[in-house]
């Protein structure tokens, strides 16, 4: 089977594509947030949905603390950079969904409120969030770009 099918090569190529994809987006807030000096744990951690869920929850808690809207810049699924102003809401968000076909191209799409509608944002594609608390966060100088 391993002679007939290059499955290992397929997995390696997929991983390389994802690595390359995030290397080009190393300065994104999400990449900084999900990286860090965690060593081997970061690789295990990155392969779960936990970092994305955590970032989504962190954004929600940030919105809760702010009185006004918080500008968020992100790249949508088509590569277009968008800017939205998000606010806190007590409404229940629509259920999050996962975009992709396997772990290598999977992205958690979370929902945030802009005051009128729910905005679907691929959490890993968040570029920046304008908030005064941000400079206090030590991202540890980056780390695992597979996150």
């Amino acid at each position: 089977m391993s002679k007939d099918y290059s499955y290992v090569e397929f997995v390696n190529k997929c991983n390389s594509l994802r690595k390359e994809f995030f290397e080009e987006r190393i300065d994104y807030l999400s990449t900084q947030f999900m990286s860090g000096p965690m060593g081997v744990m970061s690789l295990v951690f990155a392969q779960t949905r936990v970092p994305e869920v955590l970032l989504g929850e962190w954004i929600r808690s940030t919105l809760r603390k702010e009185e006004g809207p918080v500008p968020v810049k992100y790249e949508d699924l088509n590569g277009e950079v968008k800017e939205v102003s998000l606010i806190h809401t007590e409404k229940t968000p629509p259920e999050e969904r996962i975009h992709g076909q396997n772990p290598c191209d999977s992205f958690l799409i979370d929902n945030f409120f802009d005051g009128k509608d729910w905005v679907e944002i691929p959490v890993k594609m968040i570029i920046s969030i304008e908030d005064n608390d941000l400079p206090d966060i030590d991202f540890g100088g980056g780390g695992n770009v597979l996150a």
């Binding site: 499955y7 190529k13 594509l17 390359e20 949508d76 590569g79 076909q101 191209d105």
Partner: protein, 113 residues
């Protein structure tokens, strides 16, 4: 190569799947598993982060659990299994499967032996 968006990444992964005949590969893996009396593995899913080896190992575990007529595999259960005549067949099946698939399922029985 520059990938300009999430959707581009998905397209590249899809093309790689086609190029490497991954679906056919899974079909053949499942034929082997069926021959060995093991439940077929699930196809790739963005919700699952299990590797192919992990998926096979889990289903292998299910077979052992079924053989032992238990809901789950425990070390005591594995000890019983290793001391039973069925273990010889299991070893033969495992070696046969490993040889044919080129994949060695990550089931370590050493700790219970």
């Amino acid at each position: 190569m520059s990938i300009d968006s999430v959707n581009d990444l998905s397209i590249e992964v899809h093309l790689l799947k086609k190029k490497h005949n991954i679906e056919e590969f899974y079909d053949n893996i499942n034929k082997l598993l069926k021959d060995a009396g093991i439940e077929p593995i699930e196809a790739d899913s963005p919700k699952s982060t299990l590797t192919l080896e992990d998926r096979i190992t889990i289903n292998y575990g299910k077979k052992i659990a079924n053989t032992l007529d238990r809901e789950e595999v425990t070390l005591d259960g594995l000890d019983d299994y290793c001391k039973s005549p069925e273990f010889d067949n299991y070893t033969q099946n495992r070696n046969l499967f490993s040889k044919r698939s080129g994949i060695c399922p990550k089931i370590t029985l050493m700790s219970s032996l």
